[in-house]
């Protein structure tokens, strides 16, 4: 067998996968979005989407929530990743970080319901220190807290990898030239780990746009994201056309975010 045919044989499963689970659903989605609730061809759905205040608000809200979750995970992850890469047992920390991602998201969500509920340990603690019972579950706060917890490893891993990949002699050189820890972090480590930050943002922001389990279980359906809307249209209102339209909007948004985070202007600067 020559090289070319070996290659195409090996590629076949992947191509089949792409066709069945990526392109076919995408085409179906586009087809569905062009059907109204009575099964007639129309562009009514897309028009509705862009003229309805409800959908526009929901889109913006999704963006704000996803942005907020991303920002919080980034703020927590970067310093933590920086510190962890300098500790002695990097591999252990990395393992501890990966472990929770193996646990099903639903299980984690239910665990949080227990922790944050009226009779949960958090409220018991607040009671003990004299603050008293608080409604924590089913608030924006709890939604962002749990979403951040779940997304954290996906932000931290690429950042840790990026920091790890920085040639240690660059850090040495920076100190050699008179930069202290802080100046080295700002001038060398952060700029050189931006790739990891970008990957982290992609890995967190895009899925956060369509979180829907958490919105229900933790956010108590007060938070409606694009993901929730799609679920509702498919399973509750049975308006598949509208659901597909929102799906397509989501796919387009994802591509836009990916483009923005991939092609940030490269680092050629002139002498200042």
């Amino acid at each position: 067998m020559n090289k070319k045919s070996t290659q195409s044989t090996m590629l076949f499963p992947y191509v089949l996968w792409l066709a069945l689970f990526v392109f076919a659903p995408l085409l179906l989605l586009i087809y569905q979005s062009l059907l109204n609730i009575d099964g007639q061809f129309t562009i009514e759905n897309i028009v509705t989407y862009f003229t309805s205040a409800t959908y526009i608000t929901m889109t913006i809200q999704s963006f704000i929530f996803a942005g907020f979750i991303t920002a919080v995970t980034l703020l927590v992850s970067y310093p933590a990743a920086y510190v962890l890469t300098r500790t002695e047992h990097k591999e252990l920390w990395r393992m501890l970080l990966i472990l929770p991602t193996w646990i099903n998201i639903l299980l984690k969500a239910y665990a949080f319901i227990g922790i944050l509920s009226q009779s949960g340990p958090v409220n018991e603690f607040l009671e003990t220190i004299g603050i008293g019972h608080q409604q924590i579950l089913f608030t924006n706060f709890s939604f962002i807290l749990v979403a951040t917890y779940i997304e954290l490893p996906f932000m931290m891993m690429p950042i840790m990898n990026a920091i790890n990949e920085i040639d240690p002699s660059l850090i040495k050189a920076s100190h050699d030239l008179g930069a202290n820890e802080w100046e080295t972090l700002r001038n060398i480590i952060i700029p050189l780990s931006m790739n990891g930050v970008r990957s982290g943002i992609q890995a967190v922001f895009i899925p956060s746009l369509s979180l829907f389990m958490l919105t229900r279980l933790i956010g108590g359906n007060r938070v409606i994201t694009l993901g929730t809307a799609i679920e509702q249209h498919f399973l509750v209102t049975q308006n598949w056309g509208m659901g597909s339209t929102i799906g397509i909007v989501l796919v387009v948004l994802m591509f836009i975010v990916m483009k923005l985070t991939n092609n940030t202007p490269t680092r050629k600067r002139g002498g200042r």
Partner: protein, 365 residues
Amino acid sequence: MTETIVTFEKVRKEYDESTVLKEVSFQLEKGKFYTLLGPSGCGKTTILNLIAGFTEATVGNVLIDGKKVNEIPAHKRKVNTVFQDYALFPHMNVFDNVAFGLRMKKTPKAEIKTKVEEALGMVRLKEFANRSIVGMSGGQKQRVAIARALVNEPEVLLLDEPLSALDLKLRTDMQYELSELQKRLGITFLFVTHDQEEALAMSDEIFVMQDGAIVQKGTPNDIYDEPLNRYVAEFIGESNIVEGHMVSDYRVAFAGYEFDCIDGGIPSSETIDVIIRPEDLEITSADKGKFVAKVDTQLFRGVHYEIILYDQEGNEWMVHSTKKAKEGSTVGIDFDGASIHVMRKNESEADFYKRLDTYTEILEG
């Protein structure tokens, strides 16, 4: 008048159980070009790291400018390093790389510009200020790294095998440039290499290292002409080293004969190593030489022939000669008594130089 700039006082360095440097002591004087020469793993980089402040001595003191710096972090030392792999910041252009040190010192902008341009001029890269580091050749990167270090006007410049990644031609060019730069600026250079030719060509003084210790310090001439022992002699260049014994002062026996020499102060009949450089040996007819040997092979090396011969006792001899020899023929080998260098086994550097001093004085006096 010389001024000491770096001092090592019995410095030991250990990494969990393994001793990397054993009681190293030396002084570097202002404005000189020093070279640490030794095989890979002998502790050269460790010495640089101790001076730069990237690592701390387990025992002993490191002094810069007379002040103990053991606890002073790297970014506060007036020492700069040129790293083996250049370690240029890939996200900055040439100008920003060179300006980095000055910016950290909060130097005024206008001054930064002047100094960076001057430093780039020194390494002939003036036109490259706005170029990206990515895509520069090894030689260009090396020059940027040198400019980036020198622009800070350090008291000592540490260079860790800076030329080892360059090809031969470029390496020779850079050797000249570095030498000249050092003389012009008067900054103390501590240069690390495992290449003896490089060390001999550039240094005012060479420290030959072996297994975490400095075995011999001296000028290139000292070390080439009077190596302390077999290790130094073999490391510093091609030479003929054979075993022999002392007959009396100024009389040595090897290759089955006795010869006059200029070494003394060694108990008679002590077993010693004798070294004669290949360029000090001459091939003559069998009846004229000091001993006879049989030509085994020869290689044409451009400037000279490298001829390998064996004497009666089976010792191998290498001769550098401008004249061709005939393979398989028996010839005489001639040399001057002064080119015999006798090395005692296990002699310390201090004893060696002491003995050398007294006996060359007698000879000259």
